[in-house]
Amino acid sequence: MKNCTTFAGMHELSIAQSIVELAEEQAAKRRASGVEEVEIEIGRLAGVESQTLRFALQSAVKNTMLEKAHIVCHDIDGEGRCGDCDATFAMPELFTPCPRCGSYAVRLIRGKELRLKSIIINK
């Protein structure tokens, strides 16, 4: 169990660091004194646990412009389109078959997002 947590947490830490770097880069470009809010979108099928990411962010923001930033995280539900019958449908799992024709030839159209959407900076 201990190993599982470590494994699941490690790539979230990398992602948290990327969020901090991107947000700091944007803030520095505008000569901001700090970042007040960070808005991110995380697809539910992106392979990132948003709870773990929040936890990772708590340590990644230390001593950065994001130290006091409020994190707004939107979870994006998975949605797929069937390659055989063209139906679109909710995908709670990556291997959800088409509910209309049963095909597994499904293309994910939403749910893998890892996006820094916006930031609010203090000037």
Partner: protein
């Protein structure tokens, strides 16, 4: 957009900025640089991913033995600690570079970039990038490879693709290793494993082989040669 808030008797000016950037864009940009380099030098770069102990290094050793006289092969080894794997590859007189990720659980494009600068692979070479043994994290990080290869061994059970769908959904190729152990594995069903792989990823190409005994290695090596940007037949 500008807003003014009254905080503790002084005014802070705030600005909301629409960023709309992929969080992994830095990695993705570096990966594309690697990819451009590989394409220009007509190098076939493969990202090998699996659980620890599925036989990635053994598969590489056997593949190298069979192909090293026909083309130049290079290996980047990713592990948290030790250079054991790079030493195993170097023992076959193939240039290998070990990346130790420390606490990191996956390779990133920048590490591959660094390793490639050291290795200086020749034009038309085959470059294996052996990722850190882990079925979770490596799935998310593009390294600039031409193809992603996931290796799963029969001893891991037939439901691995359902437990770790992200990595299997990214795989261009799936190698099922340790087929020589099938007679000893009571609860394992090859058909179920193949069905589970194709459920998660109907596009993937599946090979069954035993790196230890050699069964199925011809088909795998044939696929490698066929996918080289430069025909290795001409170099033989």
């Amino acid at each position: 957009m500008f807003m003014c808030y009254d905080h503790d008797h002084h005014y802070d000016e705030q600005a909301a900025i629409a960023v709309e950037q992929d969080i992994l864009q830095r990695n993705n940009l570096l990966a594309e640089r690697n990819r451009g380099y590989f394409e220009a030098k007509r190098i076939l770069a493969l990202n090998l991913m699996s659980s620890p102990g599925s036989g990635k290094t053994s598969l590489l050793e056997e593949t190298i033995r069979r192909l090293k006289d026909r083309l130049d092969i290079y290996v980047i080894e990713g592990d948290q600690q030790t250079s054991n794997d790079a030493n195993r590859i170097a023992a076959l007189s193939v240039p290998a570079f070990q990346v130790n990720t420390g606490m990191g659980c996956h390779l990133e494009a920048g590490m591959v970039n660094h390793a490639v600068r050291h290795l200086e692979p020749s034009t038309g070479a085959l470059l294996f990038i052996e990722n850190v043994g882990n079925l979770v994290c490596p799935a998310m990080f593009d390294l600039g490879e031409a193809k992603k290869v996931v290796i799963v061994s029969t001893t891991e059970g037939d439901d691995k693709p359902l437990k770790y769908p992200n990595i299997f959904s990214e795989a261009d190729v799936c190698v099922i290793n340790k087929t020589d152990l099938l007679p000893y594995l009571g609860g394992f069903d090859m058909r179920t494993l193949r069905d589970n792989i194709l459920k998660v990823n109907p596009r993937t190409h599946v090979f069954e082989l035993s790196a230890a005994k050699g069964d199925g290695m011809d088909a795998w090596c044939g696929w490698l040669l066929k996918n080289l940007p430069v025909s290795a037949g001409g170099n033989a």
